[in-house]
């Protein structure tokens, strides 16, 4: 029998997360919760541990203590590829795409089917795959470049390609590390537009320095400082928090 207030089901629950590199605590007893369809932006000065938090969630770095629950599954015990299969996607800060493969092949590899060794041997490039790849290529402005090798793409195009690779993966939680860094103004506008279409029906965790961009997309902002949460809430609340102004926004 359910009586009284029931705790809300979070998509992602990070609790007491700590990682220590030779005694240095890059992330220290961090707890935060992300709801379904929420767009959360993590900001903070350099070295605050933002990228490390994403690394911990996606399994790239192993946590010293604490837990990361994704839909009730404990992620800290899983391997990277199992975390991906659970529904967490990650975009890296520097665009990591496969230069020796074409745009089509880059997207195809991310298509969530045939991920085992024998599955990939038997993988058929059927109509469903082709349609999905073309659909995503259109969204990421690379439809006419499908047969080009990825190494001839510009920096911005590579960023888009990697976003496209995540999109085709269709994760429930999408983690983006500085998606507009190093982009030209026009690319930035296009990327914001792209992100606004892809964040529908999923939760997104974004690290970004561009405050204008953060204001545009964030539902909630978490400010990190020295591996701990300095402030959390709406953009407005965070911007007016004197602690935040002192360590971060004031500069």
């Amino acid at each position: 029998m359910l009586i009284g207030h029931q705790p809300k089901e979070f998509l992602l629950a990070v609790e007491g997360l700590t990682v220590s590199f030779d005694g240095f605590k890059a992330v220290n007893d961090l707890s935060f919760y992300v709801e379904e369809n929420e767009i959360r932006v993590i900001i903070g000065p350099n070295g605050a541990g933002k990228t490390t938090v994403l690394d911990l969630i996606c399994g790239k770095t192993k946590a010293t203590s604490g837990s990361v629950q994704f839909r009730g599954t404990e992620l800290t015990k899983l391997k990277e590829n199992q975390i991906v299969q659970a529904g967490v996607g990650r975009k890296f800060q520097t665009p990591s795409v496969y230069d020796d493969l074409t745009v089509f092949e880059n997207l195809e590899i991310s298509y969530p089917r045939g991920r085992s060794v024998f599955g990939s041997l038997m993988f058929k490039r059927d109509a469903a795959v082709r349609e999905r790849v073309e659909e995503v290529a259109e969204m990421i402005f690379l439809k006419d470049r499908l047969n080009m090798y990825a190494d001839v793409l510009s920096h911005g195009q590579k960023q888009w390609l990697e976003i496209g690779m995540l999109l085709i993966q269709d994760p429930d939680l999408l983690m983006l590390d500085e998606p507009v860094a190093g982009m030209s103004v026009s690319e930035r506008v296009k990327t914001a537009e792209l992100l606004n279409t892809i964040i529908k029906n999923r939760s997104v965790l974004v690290i970004e320095h561009d405050m204008k961009f953060v204001e545009d997309i964030a539902h909630k902002v978490t400010v990190l400082h020295q591996g701990q949460i300095l402030s959390e809430g709406t953009m407005e609340k965070v911007q007016n928090d004197p602690k935040v102004i002192e360590v971060y926004l004031g500069h």
């Binding site: 996606c58 790239k60 391997k79 990277e80 590829n81 991906v84 299969q85 996607g89 990650r90 890296f92 990591s96 795409v97 496969y98 230069d99 020796d100 493969l101 074409t102 089509f104 092949e105 880059n106 195809e108 590899i109 991310s110 969530p112 045939g114 991920r115 085992s116 060794v117 990939s120 041997l121 038997m122 993988f123 490039r125 047969n147 990697e162 690779m165 993966q169």
Partner: protein, 381 residues
């Protein structure tokens, strides 16, 4: 769609010219002695083919392929040795019916692990399974722990050294440093005659092409593309939901299996197997064949193996002491000046001209046809 056909035009050209060379030209123009040398070179081409998959595509450099080559070769040799050691043939031994080297080492009964090699079927299974299983164990132990790159290369080299020491040390079971010699018949068929050597040569070419087609098939599947992707951005592959370790294990096992088939062919062709084909030096030589041919090219690997071995035979016949320096120099030159090996030179300097010639000819013939049809009063297309 980029590659819907199994071979694109230049690959088809490579395939057909290799087939023509190996199946027609060489058998026509070479005497049996030289043809047998080519057959010996080709056994290494299997190893090079495996290295293209594992090193060229997957980026996993193994300096221990000789171990798998040797295992395949020893499995074959064990079968042939047992057949050559019939009671009738070995009646002067103190224990007739066991291989001569066992008798010399005071072993009085056939060891358990030799028994399956009485059967050709089990031998063939062993040739394919034993080296692959070893590769699987090494691969699982290394790649699951994320040991890669130079460290992996060093470990494979150590394994090659260990394998040699083990084979030499266990003289009673392996024939020691001399290896297994005096192999005579395969199911009663004498493999030492010229006629048998020619037949074995064609059989080997057939198996080689079967392996080439298998390698090409793997290359064209998504697995082939994942190998390339892994070589460049291991983390990205991992975060696209693939277990990188499993793919590396697969590539390493495939390379081991190809090498083992080559080793078994070697034993059949040459009629013996010894630890000198297992150790560090032969393993590194096999990497050089692949590098010279072009580590990204399936056909390049075969041509590279043939060329380096031909050079080795020529040089060591006339200047035996110079060969090792020549080989070292060749490797340095390839790495420094032609990182894509022969196939890279072919692609950049020869294939381009061929493409242009074909393009010119086809545009010329189109033009000629248009003029002709205009003159005939027919509408030009």
């Amino acid at each position: 769609m980029i590659n819907s056909r199994f071979f694109n035009r230049s690959e088809l050209l490579g395939f057909l010219s290799l087939l023509l060379l190996l199946a027609v030209i060489l058998p026509l123009f070479l005497d049996v002695f030289r043809l047998n040398l080519v057959a010996k070179y080709l056994t290494y081409a299997f190893v090079a083919l495996g290295l293209v998959m594992c090193w060229g595509y997957g980026g996993i450099l193994s300096l221990g392929q000789g171990v798998f080559f040797g295992l395949g070769g020893y499995c074959m040799a064990m079968f042939l040795k047992l057949e050559a050691s019939s009671v009738a043939n070995t009646k002067i031994q103190s224990t007739p019916g066991i291989p001569d080297f066992m008798d010399w080492n005071q072993i009085t009964s056939l060891p358990m692990f030799w028994k399956p090699f009485h059967s050709l079927t089990l031998t063939i299974i062993a040739i394919l399974v034993v080296p692959t299983l070893l590769a699987f164990i090494i691969g699982a132990a290394m790649f699951k722990r994320r040991v890669g790159g130079v460290y992996f290369a060093i470990i494979t080299q150590a394994i090659a050294a260990i394998a040699t020491i083990l084979i030499i040390g266990q003289q009673g079971y392996t024939g020691g440093i001399n290896g297994m010699t005096d192999l005579r018949t395969l199911n009663g068929w004498d493999i030492r005659t010229d006629h048998a050597k020619v037949i074995l040569y064609f059989f080997e070419v057939f198996v080689l092409f079967a392996c080439i087609i298998t390698a090409q098939f793997i290359r064209l599947t998504k697995l082939g593309r994942i190998l390339v992707a892994m070589r460049e951005q291991e983390d990205r592959v991992r975060f696209s939901g693939y277990s990188v370790a499993n793919f590396k294990i697969f590539a390493f096992c495939a390379a081991a299996m190809f090498a083992a088939i080559g080793g078994a062919m070697f034993t059949l062709q040459i009629g013996f197997m010894s630890p000198s084909f297992v150790g560090i030096v032969p393993s590194i030589e096999m990497v050089i064949y692949t590098a010279v041919g072009g580590r990204m090219s399936i056909f390049g690997a075969v041509y590279g193996t043939l060329l380096v071995n031909y050079a080795k035979t020529m040089l060591s016949e006339s200047f035996p002491e110079l060969w090792l320096f020549g080989l070292g120099g060749l490797f340095i030159a390839v790495v420094l000046f032609f990182p894509n090996g022969l196939s890279g030179i072919w692609r950049d300097h020869v294939a381009r001209h061929i493409d242009r010639l074909i393009a010119m000819r086809s545009s010329k013939s189109k033009k000629a046809w248009a003029i002709k049809s205009a003159a005939d009063g027919a509408p030009a297309e």
